[in-house]
Symmetry: C2
Subunit: 149 residues, 2 copies
């Protein structure tokens, strides 16, 4: 197997959230400052994150494409997406923005056992986003996360 298969190297091209109400989710993600890519249409919203795409797609359509049953609404946390930030003060600022956009703060900015400061918000479907400032991790010039030394 080639190095490309075994990583390290990018292997998540898309993160696709299966949403209950595409219009509602679009409004929320616009509210937290994400701009849709022009390739978006009435069926799907794409956000170019610089080498990775966040997509919003109706949950039933996504499940049908994957050949499985959709999760029921409000089925609890199965995973999380984290955004690491450069400055400790960014944590509260981004949580505040998410709340103004209609998100629910599920964990206020506070120190986790492993250091730094983090908080969580839930998007309109309950998808969990962590906003984290962690001095043990580095962000490169392009905003990509790197394990610190």
């Amino acid at each position: 197997m080639s190095e490309h298969d075994n990583g390290p190297g990018p292997c998540i091209s898309f993160v696709t959230l299966g949403v209950a109400d595409l219009a509602r989710s679009r409004a929320f993600y616009a509210g937290i400052g994400l701009r849709e890519h022009a390739r978006s249409d009435e069926h799907v919203a794409f956000y170019d994150l610089g080498g990775q795409v966040l997509a919003l797609f109706p949950r039933s359509a996504l499940a049908e494409d994957a050949g499985v049953e959709p999760a029921p609404a409000a089925s609890g946390l199965g995973f999380s997406l984290s955004r690491n930030v450069r400055d400790e003060s960014d944590v509260q600022r981004l949580l505040d923005r998410a709340e103004r956009a209609g998100g629910t703060i599920t964990r206020a900015a506070s120190p986790p056992p492993w250091g730094g400061v983090r908080g969580y918000f839930a998007d309109p479907d309950g998808f969990a986003w962590e906003v984290a400032w962690n001095p043990a991790m580095d962000l490169d010039a392009e905003g990509r996360i790197r394990f610190g030394t």
Copy 2:
């Protein structure tokens, strides 16, 4: 708000999967060719994807950290992670490897309505991974996805 807030730019630093059995999941992801980062320990597994980290963390611990209830096991599809590949033949090859590692093929390699070829496998917790060859998308030298022109 700065350009950094509004993107496009990386904003998913970690994708953390809340797993039922950390040892089982570690074995599966090793089986599909991912190598753990040295920062991993008995509580969490990290995979450096080149500017993004995939993490495996017990679901109950992740939910507790986020301040919400964990999803029940086998609660259906809520989201998917996609790996786009350079060559059409990679789709079948990576699906085969996932199946050998104990994954479940939920959608065999086949053409979706939007072009190209894709298939899906489920990891031991049922997390949906798409393997996609899509000629309308580009992969740069580092394997990062770019919208084609």
